[in-house]
């Protein structure tokens, strides 16, 4: 349905996006992951024809979006990263306006407004002025405004920041439902790994303006198939223990977590015994040990050397 060819964007000598190739089939739900400043929003802006690429092209159903931006504008819904609403108007008035610019009117428009308000759970408070909403509620209106015209392609740039977990689950379920039942194609950017795991079939990982890995969730996790994660809960931090483990043979990575430590080790390596010994030496009290298969978060860490949320 959509593909980008060597997309590149340079801002005043600074390369934000550097040769991105990605594709999305109809009805797919694709995640775009990357740390702050990776170039996700810039990529999305180019796909949605908001900014012109320095070089490269975006093709929708084989046609160049660069040559004729009109082709994507009717089928596209974009949830911008920042809240982009008329804050002196009510949620209802905002939605009415955004519906109208997509050519909706009358009863159809009214029905769609109520439908999306239902999805984002703001039906009761639709007549209130957006400025008086909480940040999370504004974000929900921000999302609703992009879904009114039933786009074929929905691009969401970190849409759920600041929305409480319950509403988030509800919204994600609705998007997933639209994706599975109605064939809505979704491109989803998020810092919440669990959202991407829940919503997306395929994932692109971006860093420094480039795609550094891509594939289905399982494919990506198999990058780490040679590895295991060991989570160790400790009663308190032990800095010396960390230093010791870092230089310990066979342990690839040692990361301090809130509860204790996270170790990445080669799969099948029988290291647990020696780890216990080291801990003993530092008189560290181990509360819990857990050996896990890798998550996307681990893949991300492995690839970029950074955590997704700093």
């Amino acid at each position: 349905m959509l593909e980008t060819e060597e997309l590149k964007k340079v801002f005043k000598g600074k390369t934000a996006v550097n040769g991105v190739n990605l594709y999305m089939d109809k009805g797919e739900s694709v995640g775009l992951l990357g740390p702050n400043g990776a170039g996700k929003s810039t990529t999305i802006s180019m796909i949605s024809s908001l900014i012109k690429p320095t070089s490269g092209d975006v093709k929708l159903k084989g046609q160049s979006v660069l040559k004729d931006p009109g082709i994507i504008r009717n089928v596209l819904g974009v949830v911008p990263q920042e809240i982009a609403l008329y804050e002196e108007l009510t949620a209802y008035e905002n939605l009415k306006f955004f519906g109208r610019i997509y050519g909706l009117k009358g009863k159809e428009l009214e029905a769609k407004i109520q439908e999306v308000l239902e999805i984002v759970g703001l039906k009761e408070r639709q007549k209130e002025i957006v400025k008086t909403y909480s940040g999370g509620m504004q974000r929900r209106v921000n999302m609703a405004a992009a879904m009114l015209h039933e786009p074929e392609l929905l691009i969401m740039d970190e849409p759920t920041v600041g929305i409480d977990p319950q509403s988030r689950t509800h919204i994600l379920d609705t998007v997933r439902h639209l994706n599975q039942e109605k064939g809505l194609t979704v491109l989803y950017t998020s810092h919440y790994m669990e959202e991407v795991e829940r919503l997306c079939d395929r994932v692109y990982i971006m860093d420094h303006g480039q795609i550094i890995a891509s594939g289905t969730k399982d494919e990506l996790k198999s990058i780490l198939s040679g590895e295991e994660t060991i989570l160790i809960d400790l009663d308190r931090p032990y800095p010396d223990l960390v230093t010791d483990l870092q230089s310990h043979d066979g342990i690839r990575q040692t990361i301090e977590t809130e509860k204790g430590l996270k170790l990445i080790v080669p799969k099948g390596s029988k290291l647990l015994g020696s780890i216990f010994q080291v801990a003993e030496r530092h008189q560290a009290q181990i509360l819990n040990v857990n050996v896990k298969v890798p998550t996307l978060e681990d893949v991300f860490l492995h690839l970029t050397g950074r955590k997704l949320r700093d």
Binding site: V78, P80, F97, I101
Partner: protein, 368 residues
Amino acid sequence: MKSVFILQWQRFRRAPILVLSFLGMTILFVSVLAGFGGPNSQFTIYTYGDPSLEEEMKVKWLDRLNEAENLTFKWVEESEAHDAVSSRDAGLALKLMNDDYRILIAVQEPSSVSVENYVYQVFSEELRLQEVASQADGEEFRSELERVMNEPAIQIVTESLSGEESTFIYDDQLHVLFGMTLFFSIYTIMFSLMNVAEEKRVGTWDRLIVSPLYKWQIYTGHLLYSFLIGYFQILVAFLFFQFLFGFDLGERYGMLLLVIACYTFAIVSLGMLVMGLVKRSQQMQAVVPILATAMAMLGGAYWPIEIVTNEILLALSKGMPIYYGLDALKGAAIYNFGLPELVQPISIMLLFGVVCMGIGINLMERRA
């Protein structure tokens, strides 16, 4: 385009204070500067009598004094007159005696001097006449005098051909009305145009761009709104002063409407140019007052350009759309000019508008 246009009105309805305050300022300033104290306005003088004043003399003096066109001598109690003067409600009060007067004054103002002169003139003339009449035969002299006054031996008729280089009809009232209205409309128009900058800042602009709307539709919606709100402000101010204060705007209403439209267009375009030049809407907020004041000063909105003699200032005034707006409005209202006479200022305003609009939109688009 229609939705963008309607949206601006919705937003205006929610936050009308700013725009309405500019209309309010127009009305306030014109009222203060022209409504009172102008040559055609009424000036009320509190008048009271000395206890010795006879009723017959009171009526006689009041009648004589009230022959003045723009002065009203109003009979009040002595205490009321004192209060009015001491509280500065009135600049002065007049105390009448049988054949003399006193003026009660708190502060010396330019207007009180002319009142004093007038009263002095009335009294001295009347007293002189009385003197002469008392020597001659009273009744006969009076009627003879009246006859001579009505049919003077020599008549001097002063006429000026309007439109001739040397003549310059200076109508203070209209000048203030036109100047202040055009001046304050700059604020309204440019602040309304700032909605565009605001949309770009908040990000709703991007939403519009990725929607099926064409860019020209978005711009047109905004421009039309700013145009109409400026146009209405000028119109309301004119109507207000014509109907409530009796300002004489002449008969060329169609011409006035056309001139306002051209001027408004020029200012909307200038606003687009300014937005193309500044980076943020806060900068725009700072630039608009400076620009409006400078234009109004140079273009002759505060004082008639005819009193300016400095060559440089005169040359600068020719670059200001407000100069042509004032020129054309006065032409239509005072000199009764039609399109043929006003084609020059009108086309200059239109040209100015087209050029600014072109450059402005170009600059804005280049930055995006």
